[in-house]
Symmetry: C2
Subunit: 322 residues, 2 copies
């Protein structure tokens, strides 16, 4: 197993990403604050390159490969933002990239990943085993596997989103982060623990994909059945081997939200704040809008909006549901 990353790794990742990743803006909304009873500072990773924070970790991983490793290329599995983030990072660094994607992935995601120059290998979703396929390709073609979250360089890269927010708003009381496999929240928790130890780090999961909630409650990694949610980026079935101990050490609690609450937040962010946020990215805002996090009244709350890559039809359906 790779060693756990520390805050210094987050800081070093920030240096590597400087001038490459966007330093995304931090927005505020008095209307949101009135509704949620907080003072929220939104870190807009939906405005990041390739549309999500995933680019940070992917770039931080590929840039640290040796010249020979880069020349052989990288491989991963993802139907979502990690695919696009890694494809873009690889292109910028001159590395070939192969992404293993399910054969029923939306055409728009396949096109976006291809658009960044990656080769796509399709697999039958029902048969699963995408990680196995990626490993085999890696072995056959000498490519480095870049996992979606459970890797120290990925975690350190994702943590730079939290680092930037904490640098910009120094007196946060709470930091709210969406949780899939835990790459983003564990990186952000390292930054918060170092820069603002008094801040509570709170994760958000869909209620039906509550593996990290259960794992933290039990004190050990729990795997759940594969769930469905409009927050399709938050569906890993267990926290990672590397991410979980960091979460256990530095995450205060996990809040759970329903798909209806997430859809409401997507609408609010679109209609009132004029930004396109995908359901996974809006889960944090949903938790605040719907009172799912305790002790935030009047508090200064950092909120990671993690991505904006929503299928146009899905977005239209959400916006029409009001």
């Amino acid at each position: 197993m790779k060693p756990a990353p520390a805050f210094d790794d987050v800081r070093e990742a920030a240096r590597r990403l400087d001038g490459v990743a966007h330093r995304t803006p931090v927005l505020t909304s008095r209307t949101f604050d009135e509704r949620a009873g907080t003072r929220a500072f939104f870190k807009c990773e939906n405005l990041q390159r390739a549309g999500a924070f995933k680019f940070r970790g992917a770039y931080n991983t590929v840039v640290r490969l040796t010249g020979a490793e880069r020349a052989c290329g990288v491989v991963s599995y993802s139907s979502g933002n990690h695919a696009q983030g890694l494809a873009l990072a690889a292109r910028l660094l001159g590395a070939p990239a192969v992404i293993v994607m399910p054969n029923d992935a939306p055409e728009v995601k396949l096109a976006a990943t291809r658009g960044y120059g990656a080769e796509i290998v399709l697999y039958e979703r029902a048969e699963g085993k995408r990680e196995e396929i990626a490993r085999r390709i890696g072995a056959e073609r000498g490519m480095t596997l870049v996992p979606p979250f459970d890797h120290p360089h990925i975690i350190a890269g994702q943590g730079t989103a939290g680092l930037e927010l904490l640098e910009e708003v120094r007196d946060l009381d709470v930091l709210v982060v969406p949780v899939g496999g835990g790459g983003l929240i564990s990186g952000c928790a390292l930054a918060a623990h170092a820069l603002r130890p008094s801040a509570r780090v709170v994760g958000v999961e869909p209620a039906q994909a509550n593996d990290s909630y259960l794992s933290l409650a039990r004190g050990e990694r729990v795997a759940t059945a594969q769930a469905q949610s409009i927050a399709d980026g938050l569906l890993p079935t267990a926290p990672g081997e590397i991410t979980f101990p960091i979460m256990k050490a530095h995450v205060h609690s996990i809040a759970l939200v329903t798909d209806e609450e997430i859809a409401d937040a997507v609408r609010f962010l679109h209609e009132r704040m004029k930004i396109v946020v995908e359901p996974s990215g809006a889960a944090t805002a949903a938790a605040l809008l719907h009172g799912r996090i305790e002790g935030v009244r009047g508090a200064k709350v950092g909120v990671i909006l993690s991505g904006g890559n929503v299928d146009p039809n899905a977005l239209t359906a959400i916006l029409a549901r009001a």
Copy 2:
């Protein structure tokens, strides 16, 4: 006639707006730059309070009223962003506000304006004369008329959007600004002339609402027939008495765009940059994406995205048109 504003008025407006208006972020997009062949810096006034730059001028005008004037309140006519911007500014400053709106205005705009606490007076659009109605209400109720663009405090307030962009990106070659009645571009032109005199200030109008284009070509104010365009904020039929001389002095040229080009830009900004921009606000991006501005290849171009208040159904229709 009120005296023309100068750059000092823009600077003073910036001081009054500090901590009240959002200092909106400046975004970049390598994908946009590749398509347009420029280096674009987008000033996101769609992320401004009340959804558009209009709040700046409205607040700068209401804040300068005497206590007695504020107590009597303000009146204006607008079916768009000026209504919402003025309603919010008046509420923040404790002034009653009356907005004269056409009786066929979209319910969403009426609701938004009412939501900021303004009283709405409806008029029959076919009969026109909304300015006359507003003047009569002002006279009857002792309210100060706050016109949508042709007023020195309005112009100075709108200019702060350009001022902030020029402060953040100091070496712009070109500044591209949408043109309705000219309040925004004349304020921005004052800032550009003072801070970056070598920068060309270029306006953008819908091809069918080209009154400023014609006026600048002829050297005097030309009124056109009322046009239709999806850019419903850019439809005044003539530049203002105060705005036109400033445009004549400091605006290099006006580019014209079609509704199709504007719709394409709205889609690009939504799908690739993850921001909601209304058609009027996207006209500038449209001009660059479709090569309607000369001499911008490789140039550093400031681009004002002026607002984000688009009707959800209209937006859905534009997004579906791809």
